[in-house]
Symmetry: C2
């Protein structure tokens, strides 16, 4: 289906590079263009698992909190206890509303005691955070800065990053970041990213830096076989990387999303949804995210909820699915009722192309 472009669907600082690399498809994420395929989803997947790719993930917009109450406001947003968070750390933080419903599942970066970036998934978290900061009369500024992440992902990412940013960048541990010089500018580089192949995210501050950095990475990685890439549907399902809006929505609590380990409901004092989540944490969720195998030939695009049935009883839905060349099965993510979520349970899934058997797994593929 054709996507009609307009200014409202924002381009990114890396769009010229993405276009020159022959992007073949986009999705829209935070009202911005996100590439979905270059050669083919399967060829991109194979390349990601063996080489190194540069991803335009500028759609991960930043919400910057700055001021004496920045940390206090961040704790209002999430049930994760942030008291131990140090500058230089990335925290994955479920963000919930007053009923404990997921509003976003961003990564927060602590730049300084009074300054944070929240690198957001697909919802206008800026509006939620700005309204809370203002209404609670906190001393904090909440804005979207001119920062666009560029990801370097794949097994050869360390080699490529070392060439631009040196060995200190490669020495970063997972979910740590540092400030690194490039062309006289200081950039945040973190060991993170939306794949299981390892890599980094460079927080490009200043749109004018986008294409020079893109080009420098492409040149420096030529002998490594570097290519333009993007978050890969197959790889992220295999790896159990959830997608906000697909696998979870405001209807779900973090516990339903399997994110209970990021909820410190006893100690996350100040979190807006704490009362509601306290209740859920005592009783446990009645449905939860699960990995599932779908039998048979490659399934088509999961562009809507696929209902899961046990006989005549609706017991959940599949929300992401793809054919996995490596595992020779249809890998899928769904939300399943506790009565039917044990590993090995066989269910019926209703797809556009007809019914298939879906089997609940004990874990993801990687």
């Amino acid at each position: 289906m054709e996507l009609s472009l307009s200014r409202r669907l924002r381009r990114t600082p890396f769009s010229p590079g993405v276009e020159a690399a022959g992007v073949k498809g986009y999705t829209v994420y935070n009202r911005m263009l996100l590439p979905t395929v270059f050669e083919s989803v399967e060829a991109d997947y194979r390349h990601l698992k063996t080489n190194v790719q540069i991803w335009d993930v500028a759609v991960e917009r930043q919400v910057e909190l700055r001021g004496p109450d920045a940390g206090r406001l961040l704790q209002i947003l999430t049930p994760r206890d942030l008291r131990g968070m140090l500058p230089g750390q990335c925290y994955y933080i479920p963000v919930v509303d007053e009923t404990g419903g997921m509003l976003n599942d961003p990564v927060a970066l602590k730049l300084a005691e009074d300054r944070y970036w929240i690198s957001i998934a697909d919802s206008d978290l800026l509006l939620w955070v700005k309204a809370l900061g203002h209404a609670r009369q906190l001393e904090v500024s909440v804005e979207e800065p001119d920062v666009s992440p560029l990801a370097v992902q794949g097994p050869k990412a360390d080699t490529l990053i070392a060439r631009l940013f040196g060995d200190d960048a490669v020495a970063l541990r997972f979910f740590r970041f540092g400030f690194f010089q490039w062309e006289g500018r200081e950039l945040v580089v973190a060991r993170s990213g939306y794949s299981r192949q390892g890599g980094f995210e460079i927080y490009v501050e200043g749109a004018e830096l986008g294409m020079p950095l893109w080009d420098a990475l492409m040149t420096a990685g030529a002998d490594l076989g570097v290519r333009a890439g993007c978050p890969n549907l197959i790889e992220r399902i295999e790896g159990g990387l959830l997608s906000y809006g697909n696998d979870m929505t405001r209807a779900n609590t973090p516990f339903e999303c399997g994110l209970g380990r990021f909820c410190n409901v006893e100690t996350a004092i100040g979190c807006l949804g704490r009362d509601a989540l306290m209740r859920v944490s005592m009783d446990g969720p009645i449905r939860q995210v699960r990995a599932l195998d779908i039998s048979g030939e490659p399934v088509g695009r999961c562009d809507r909820e696929w209902p899961l049935w046990a006989g005549n009883t609706r017991v959940g839905q599949i929300t992401s699915a793809a054919w996995s060349p490596d595992y020779q099965t249809n890998v899928a993510i769904g939300m399943v009722r506790l009565t039917h979520w044990d590993a090995g349970t066989e269910l019926l899934v209703e797809t556009q192309a007809g019914a298939r058997t879906a089997t609940v797994r004990g874990g993801f593929w990687i």
Copy 2:
């Protein structure tokens, strides 16, 4: 460019009808699919101006305010004075943040003294409103109900609406609504819509009603030449219907958008952005939305800001443009600095296809 579909880009209750009608393009609006073209943008335009069309505008999601403080919360959102608003009225309300920046330009419907729907443009206004209601401890519930608007637009809309909802619906004045029976259900029908051709919007409460109503309208309008349609790029530019995200963003005040007549900064007591807008209303804006003609052959798709130049000085940008068959010119909407916004001013506009002359007009085409 191909749009990659996923559950995150929500389908609507009318999607089966849209697909059966041969939709050829989509945009994404409020994380939902919005058709952009059926036959061709020009053929759709001609048909809209002469017949009647059914539009899937479910992307106009509703934010429902319900409770004793509903009216108070609504006034916090907007500089428009709402004291005179009566049940049965639609109000176009600019929604602003604490600096007077536009967050959305929705239509509010007063269903009852303690119940409103806000029919939103493309931003997650739900998060802003919910956070404010909660943080200010107002007695109000803020939710997205299962309501999907379906528009009936075009010169024959009155005839078609009369056949389904009777003469009382046709008697509605502009921006008034009523409750009408259909198949035993009560639906809100308003005389409103995102075209200058006249028509109605039906607020379909309950997704299961979507396709039966779609089919009933298609059947009842067969002899009128009814077709599936959608907001038309050419027609809405000719008519000066602004598009949030295209022609205005959070960077703009309502005054810059030419919406000063909806700002009662003296009397809209409670509006969050009132202090900031008070200042702007005294001084006047330094840039404002203008209609512009672009010279020469049909211009391509305006998928990014097109800078406007007066010699070497940047004086604004064009944000929407299309070739108009009726006016035999490229019709455009832009934001122009006050030094260059007088009708007749000739500027240079930089498009992907090269530079053209852009002439500021005194008003829109309709």
